[in-house]
Amino acid sequence: MRYALLFVVLIAPVLWAQQRPADEEVLQRAIVLHQSGDLENAIRAYREYLAVRPDSIEARSNLGAVLARAGRYEEAIAEYDHALAKDPENAAIFLNLGLAYYKIGRAADAAARFEQAASLAPQFKDQAILLLASCYNSLGEYKKAIAALSPLESEKSADQAFNYLYGSALIGDGESARGAVIINRILSRGDSAEARLLLGTTKLQAHDHEGALADLEKAIALNERLPGAHARLGELLLAMGEIARAAAAFRQELALDPTDFESSLNIGVLAKQDQEYSDARLYLERALKSRPGDPGVRYQLALLELATGGLDQARKALEALIGESPGFAEVHGTLATVYYRLDRAADGDRERAIAQKLTDERQAAQRGALSRESRPRGNQPK
């Protein structure tokens, strides 16, 4: 779930004393253009200035900021990196770099920069922690988000953004009771889209589909641009078997945030099931960009290779996955199929046996847990 952020670009108005008057005029013009919103001319002016003074950290950082404001995040990232190479302890640039990564959905990269910003500059710590928690939530790393946010709970309990992030993390981690406390805290200040989204998410996890539908539809009615609301509605509709409506909801989410992981993954899987393989690849690769290395997405991409006859590509992808996640039974099972189709029967037999063993172990563990929880049966009334 993505935290709705307004980020402030840090523009440096300070000029170097030793600058020549002509250069100073160019930089001043760039800043004025930037502040007035004339982004293209501002970019041009910053670049003109940097052609003369390539080592100016402030101009480089400001160019990154104006590029980010223009939605040219990849270019912005390059400028920030350039600036950090000259000033590797500049917390403000780390924060802005993190924001640029955040905006293109590279949550893991963003999180790393926010961590840096928080450690370098205490004045950015609160803002960085909220951003960091948002990244963790979008990466599904709810425990990390809880660990980051819980020390701030007493001081930020009136902060709706904090409550929303914290509630999302708790509910995502399955801590429904603690999540409910946060939802009540949000609701105590009146009905809100964010509270409805959290309620809907909680009910979805509890398989209360009707309740979840009511809350999610209400969340969207209150704020149709609320990040994550359409994605969650899509997940619910998928669980209800409403595939066409689910796909429409995921597409709405992607229209608001093209980097949303769950929506990209689900649209990719649905496209693969419909044998629309080029669409499937496009969306699954988008999902992978949002969560680099995600084993679930990589498995789906391997299945896509298998479905399209790319046996060798599927084999390589599955072998790599097994190298990192040897306990992923389904991957072993699919790799067995690939080996058999490549006429590598012995390898297929081996992978199949591993898949079966892992599955048996998983089920035995579940049986063990069950027997510990189960009550002895007595004479039961009919």
Binding site: H207, H209, G211, I243, Q273, D274, Y340, Q366, R377
Partner: protein
């Protein structure tokens, strides 16, 4: 209508419903499928008690078969027992045999037939194992299987002990069989028996599972699985357990259904076994042994690599390309998987591409059968629906109505018909078994379905404007008497279609009808080619439709 020019051994049995079939308008739009509900006095008593024991939710097998050879399919229904004792200690638990007397009259002849039963019975498989012309019954159950020999005089004899089919396993003890399949695996002219086993279960030690504090049936992961079994028919009324030698025993699963078809057209019957939340099995027959090739052929798991709760199935050609395809049902949120057979090389899942995923995603199914209900030349899919649990979890309906999925032909798409097909005439229930047969001889395939703690349903096919039809009733001479395993290819002006003789269809059920074909606007088949299990190929030309044609295997 062209005159019938029978080939060797062809006998026209009867010609009914021609008048109805003539209503079919050539070139008109495909006719919708409609059913009318009838009931028979049978209630499935499955032994459900407050603390749920899992066999209670798996009951409900049916057989449709003409036990007295009067030309009308009769109905046999299995029933439960006291689960604590596995005994039918009350009359309500009796199995039932209903004789079809015609005109919609079904008479309970259970007692005189000797088919009351004694234990908790689940599935049933029909096959004439001794080639005497009278179909026999194998009844699968919890820790107890029964083989009934049809004496040909309206009575049956329990020959389980002599046959050697009911011995406790040396490793697993008494096993729980869901169903069986009669197939001549070695093409020696004698039907062999494949038994599908489910879970290791014991009344005293079964875990008690609760959902929000309320007991309900445990998931399959709560139990260990079992291997299936293969018994070779020795021709003297006894059977030999060859499960190990034939490569079956090595594969432990949680079997729920079995379908038989020669998927690679090598002349030997193969098996597909659905497992409950585990890898499916595809047993490829090499002539002296089965090799399990589900992974190789891409049918071990569904396209997303996930386990589904595989239930009942059918293994027949639904796209008319001559290769048997796979359709089975599963629980809600899993969809009903469809696999197209790619010329015997492997299978391609078309669950989404066919529209079946969207149509079935919210449904839970138990039984599935591919029959052409509107006789348009394309096999449709009838599904008995209902959840495995007894109390609804949020987002899941336990009681459901049955659905027929209409095959929309060359488009590869399907259409779901529930109320549209009249299937809302019965209330939503936990439906289980289903079997097929033309109960009133009108050329339209009827359906029998069971539901837990509910009366059995007979769904009479009243599809208006159904097409012409042709039923091929096989009689093997060198092959097994039932002709099980024979492939039949019918050619009409509009093209070819394919089917094969099997009684293994649905869930825990068996349908011993003739091999059915819908001919659409064509009132005759230009040719009928039968590939017998013996290898003999028999061709009939210019076969008039709207009749049952009996074909005796040429020697």
């Amino acid at each position: 209508m062209a005159s019938l020019r029978p080939g060797p051994g062809v006998l026209v049995l009867f010609s009914l419903a021609a008048a109805i079939s003539l209503l079919f308008l050539a070139g008109g739009s495909p006719s919708p499928i409609r059913f009318e509900l009838k009931t028979i006095p049978f209630r499935l008593d499955h032994g459900e008690i407050t603390a749920r024991h899992v066999p209670a939710t798996m009951a409900g097998g049916i057989a449709t078969f003409d036990y007295n050879r009067d030309g009308r399919p009769d109905i046999f229904l299995t029933n439960g027992a006291n689960l604590a004792t596995l005994k039918k200690d009350q009359p309500k638990y009796r199995n039932r045999l209903f004789r079809n007397d015609g005109n919609g009259v079904f008479t309970d002849v259970t007692e005189q037939a000797g088919l009351v039963g004694s234990g908790f019975d689940d599935g049933v498989a029909v096959g004439d194992y001794d080639n005497d012309g009278y179909p026999d019954l194998f009844v699968a159950g919890v820790h107890h299987n029964t083989l009934y020999h049809n004496n040909g005089d309206g009575t049956f004899t329990d020959v389980s002990a002599k046959a050697g089919l009911n011995k406790p396993d040396t490793q697993f003890g008494p096993m729980w069989a869901i169903t069986g399949a009669w197939v001549d695996v070695n093409n020696d002219g004698l039907l062999d028996l494949f038994v599908v086993n489910y879970l290791q279960w014991d009344y005293a030690t079964e875990p008690l599972c609760e959902y929000k504090g309320i007991p309900d049936y445990c998931a399959p992961r709560s139990y260990k699985g079992l291997p299936n079994q293969l018994f070779l028919n020795k021709g003297d009324g006894t059977f030999e357990d060859v499960s190990e030698a034939w490569g079956i025993r090595a594969h432990v699963g949680k079997g729920m259904g079995v379908g038989m078809a020669d998927y690679d057209l090598d002349g030997r019957p193969d098996f597909f076994v659905t497992n409950d939340a585990s890898y499916n099995f595809l047993f490829h027959n090499t002539g002296a042994k089965f090799e399990e090739v589900a992974f190789q052929k891409g049918v071990a798991l569904t396209e997303d690599g996930n386990f589904v709760s595989g239930m009942g199935l059918d293994f027949r050609d639904f796209d008319n390309d001559g290769y048997p395809d796979l359709a089975f049902v599963a629980l809600a949120k899993q969809a009903f998987p469809l696999w197209r057979n790619m010329a015997g090389r492997d299978f391609k899942e078309v669950t989404s591409a066919s529209g079946m995923r969207s149509l079935s995603m919210s449904m839970s199914g138990f039984g599935a059968g591919l029959y052409d209900f509107d006789n348009d030349g394309w096999k449709d899919l009838f599904v008995t629906r209902g959840d495995v649990l007894s109390r609804a979890l949020p987002g899941t309906a336990v009681d459901q109505q049955n659905t027929v999925f209409r095959n929309l032909g060359a488009s590869g798409r399907w259409e779901a018909l529930t109320a549209e097909a009249g299937l809302d005439a019965a209330p939503p229930m936990r439906h289980r078994g289903l079997a097929f047969g033309d109960l009133d001889g009108d050329g339209r395939v009827d359906v029998v379905a069971t539901a837990l703690a509910s009366p059995a349903e007979i769904w009479m096919n009243r599809s208006p404007g159904a097409g012409h039809w042709l039923d091929i009733a096989l009689e093997g001479t060198k092959s097994n008497h039932d002709g099980i395993g024979a492939r039949v290819e019918v050619t009409t002006k509009r093209g070819k279609q394919y089917n094969h003789m099997t009684t293994s269809v649905g869930y825990a059920s068996s349908s011993h009808g003739p091999v059915h074909f819908g001919l659409g606007a064509d009132d005759k088949a230009e040719s009928v080619v039968i590939h017998w299990p013996s290898g003999i190929v028999q061709t009939l030309n210019d076969v008039a439709g709207d009749r049952v044609v009996a074909v005796k295997e040429a020697r």
